[in-house]
Amino acid sequence: MRMLGYLGRAHRIGLLGLLLLALYLLVALAPGLVARQDPVAMGPERLAPPSAQHLFGTDRYGRDVLSRIAYGTRISFVVAVLAVLAAALLGSTLGVWAAYFGRTVDYLVMRVMDTVFAFPSLLLAIALAAVLGAGLHSVVVAIAIVYTPIFARVARAPTLSVKAQEYIVAAVAIGSSTPRILWRHVRPNILAPILVQMALSLSSAVIVEAALSFLGLGAVPPTPSLGSMLSEGRAFMELAPWTVLYPGAALAGLILSINLAGDMVRDILDPHHREVL
């Protein structure tokens, strides 16, 4: 209870972020609640300013901006969550293996991870997305690869310290198999830092997806993505600022809410990180 009281006081803004994130999640799960039009249906009213019919106006093909934002939010979520999940699974598995089996496995796995880590993340994502071809599945794979090394590092350190504990020696002595030891004894010990890293990586994944789609390397038109809406809107933005402002605000709000919620998750799961106030 004292813990909850502490979080309530220190995290009024975190709770606000969580609320905002819940709203976004609702829109992502049921875009139809907000979107009253088909997001890819072109209409006769091009670049129409916000009105009762089109709350956020229309873009240059007469498509409803609000509907596109709603479906774009869903895409942001799906891509980011899938990519982070894949990176977390792959990265933490590699990290645990590296630490648990040590020696050559450790050296090889971590050198490969260092190599991936040695590229500026956006540049690597751009190169990978370009090579894998346009489309959101390439974006998921590209982001997953870029963020795998972080999870390998986050999983490796606690595995090393768990491995040295006496209960592992005991487990080996009573004949537990390696998979059983990894699952029963190692996994619970590294779960918290992995979850924290997932929360923190989620907002970067949203940003990278938007960036790739902005550059035309992600969502293929007419699929609505917040990033591609921004770049499409740029051509006429002096005439129709709403084609840029609303998707931009939606994107920034989404990232903000994930950041706030992520900070909160970190504070709950990793007390060392609590900022001195």
Partner: protein, 319 residues
């Protein structure tokens, strides 16, 4: 110091460079569709014989490891190949655009650190004061507004409300006047700088705040030093160590960020070269530019490491 440098070079720097070269080579050989199609243009009809000739001329019939070693050997001699579009050596293309990107990244670095350090220090000195609240709000914003959104908004804002205040597109070289040059780079540098300054500000604030709670700071205050003396003599030197790392890491990321910012502001730098090469499937240029940027990124990280060990001698002893 020299021992440390040599050890870092041998255990981290060189293996990483080797890894990067393998990765870049591998990525470029995963391209869908064959290299020959890209070379002659898709849809162009060529005979099987011509195709075989091209394959032989480019050494594509040899095993991949051999191709890699051959390519690496040329790279080590400074030969990054020739552009498929312009016929120019890739290295010339890179060298011509490098100064623009370096200037942009440097300006962004100066803006970011110049904004972040004073703000971070001031908010750590008076936590929860109005400067602190403002700085933290700015920090949250900086981390939540991606640079390409900020750049787009900056272009929109200037062209709607203050046309002519700053050029929103294009680059004016230094030779045409320092002021015009700086004006053309101001908006892109600002867009690049905000996210970096948010990270640097946050780490400055939290690290200094933690340092100010240490016992030796209490001792320093107890023996009668003024706050300014405490800061200058004790807190800053210790509190700013993590800041160096973050500045270094972020400086590396600036290199990646320039790709998208140069595209928005139509600045003819390394990032735009890379992106255009990707759009035009000019793979030798993509390969060369990505290799070059990754190399620079690793170099920046190495310099960060060394700076770190200069400031904090304990790091050298640990290894």
């Amino acid at each position: 110091m020299w021992n440390y440098l040599v050890r870092r070079l041998a255990t981290v720097f060189l293996p990483t460079l080797l890894g990067i070269s393998i990765a870049v080579f591998a990525i470029m050989h995963l391209i869908p569709g064959s290299f020959v199609d890209v070379l002659v243009g898709i849809g162009t009809d060529i005979t099987e014989e011509q195709r075989a000739q091209i394959v032989r001329a480019y050494g594509l019939d040899r095993p991949l490891p051999i191709q890699y070693l051959h390519w690496l050997g040329k790279v080590l001699q400074g030969d990054l190949g020739t552009s498929l579009r312009t016929g120019q050596p890739v290295w010339h293309e890179i060298r011509a655009r490098l100064p623009v990107t370096l200037e942009l990244a440097f300006l962004a670095l100066v803006l970011a650190v110049g904004l972040a350090l004073p703000l971070g220090i001031l908010s750590a000195i008076r936590p929860n004061g109005w400067i602190d609240l403002g700085a933290r709000l700015l920090g949250l914003m900086g981390l939540s507004v991606p640079n390409f959104l900020l750049g787009t908004l900056a272009v929109l804002g200037v062209s709607l409300y203050a046309p002519g205040l700053f050029p929103t597109t294009g680059y004016v070289p230094l030779s045409q006047g320092v002021v015009a040059n700086l004006r053309s780079l101001f908006l892109p540098a600002l867009a690049l700088a905000l996210a970096m300054s948010a990270s640097v500000m946050r780490i400055t604030r939290s690290s200094l705040l933690e340092t100010l709670h240490q016992d030796y700071i209490r001792v320093a205050r107890g023996k009668g030093l003024s706050e300014l003396q405490v800061l200058r003599g004790h807190a800053l030197r210790n509190g700013l160590i993590p800041v160096v790392t973050v500045v270094g890491i972020q400086a590396g990321y600036l290199l990646g960020g320039t790709v998208i910012i140069e595209e928005i502001f139509a600045i003819p730098g390394l990032g735009r070269l890379t992106l255009n090469a990707i759009y035009q499937r000019d793979y030798p240029v993509v390969q060369g530019a990505v290799l070059f940027i990754a190399f620079a990124f690793v170099l920046v990280n190495l310099v960060t490491d060394l700076t770190y060990s200069l400031i904090d001698p304990r790091i050298r002893l640990e290894e």
